[in-house]
């Protein structure tokens, strides 16, 4: 039976158990890497480097995780901080390695043209709206959790999600249900 995040965290803290931490990484790598890929809008390698940095920082600062929020929310917060630091260094992170992203999608699930349009529409959103939409609509965080991750007021998150979704709906109007 797989151990819960809290048990794995306790093992790392008590015994400095690298295997337990590896289990935590395995459980959360997909969502953290996915989030960073959406935020970075540049090559996938950079997003993965940031994800790696996120987990190393999480390991070093694990004692500061008090279990008040979900472990994934705490990780997203670190990931978002890593992204912000990188963005500050590079000023602007633009462009996306679409070929690599395409190759990792299941071709059966969605029409490739729709996927392309959705990716374009997401990338066209300003960073604050994209971050809120990705966290709440893709990663399933509540507005409250997203506010903690992004370190902004709850009302601002709600507004950003609403505006982001409106823009996405407009951009994808041709694809919507009739």
């Amino acid at each position: 039976m797989p151990l819960a995040d809290a048990d794995l965290v306790a093992r790392v803290l008590l015994d400095d158990d690298h295997h337990a931490f590896a289990e935590l990484v395995r459980n959360h790598q997909s969502s953290v890497r996915g989030l960073l890929r959406q935020l970075v809008r540049t090559d996938v390698t950079l997003a993965d480097d940031l994800a790696q940095e996120t987990f190393v920082r999480a390991y070093k600062n694990l004692r500061s995780f008090r279990g008040e929020a979900r472990f994934s929310t705490w990780l997203y917060r670190i990931a978002y901080n890593c992204f912000r630091e990188e963005a500050r260094k590079r000023k602007e992170l633009v462009g996306i390695d679409e070929a690599q992203l395409e190759s990792e999608h299941d071709p059966q699930t969605t029409d490739p043209a729709l996927r392309h349009d959705l990716a374009q529409a997401l990338q066209a959103l300003p960073l604050h709206e994209r971050s809120a939409v990705v966290l709440c609509c893709q990663n399933g965080l509540s507005h409250d959790e997203a506010a903690r991750v992004l370190d902004i007021p709850l009302g601002t998150v709600k507004t950003n999600v609403l505006r982001g979704r409106e823009k996405l709906k407009r951009a994808l109007a041709a694809w919507g249900p009739n």
């Binding site: 400095d16 690298h18 931490f21 590896a22 990484v25 395995r26 790598q29 997909s30 969502s31 890497r33 996915g34 959406q38 993965d48 994800a51 790696q52 987990f55 190393v56 390991y59 070093k60 990792e104 999608h105 299941d106 699930t109 969605t110 729709l114 996927r115 959705l118 990716a119 997401l122 939409v133 990705v134 609509c137 893709q138 990663n139 979704r165 996405l168 709906k169 994808l172 694809w175 919507g176 249900p177």
Partner: protein, 112 residues
């Protein structure tokens, strides 16, 4: 009604856009980058103590019962007083410098 349908459709598409990313060695790379596990303090103390006792025992037997220590002490006691004072001051400075270096390295590793 149409508005709700549109909302549901958009949510579903957004979730589809976040597929599972295969690990493909990512976890291994992260674990390799983790800082090495520090040797526990009590273990370090036991190792140091063991090494010191072993080294002392070897030195004692190899030197034929430690006669050179007694001879060294006698010779040192016969040195002029200013030289003894100089040696004592030198030893004190060395020990203080060692302590200072250890404190600085510990403080800098904590602030990192």
């Amino acid at each position: 009604m149409a508005e709700n349908l549109q909302e549901d459709w958009l949510d579903a598409r957004l979730r589809d856009e976040a597929p599972y990313i295969d690990d493909a060695g990512f976890t291994t790379r992260v674990v390799r980058k983790l800082p090495a596990r520090p040797v526990r303090n009590w273990l370090r103390a036991m190792i140091l103590l063991g090494l010191t006792i072993s080294a002392s025992a070897i030195a004692y037997f190899v030197s034929g019962g430690g006669w050179f220590i007694a001879e060294g002490v006698t010779r040192f006691a016969l040195l002029p007083l200013p030289v003894i004072w100089l040696c004592a001051a030198g030893a004190t400075i060395l020990v203080m410098a060692g302590g200072l270096l250890a404190a600085i390295s510990k403080a800098s590793s904590r602030s990192r």
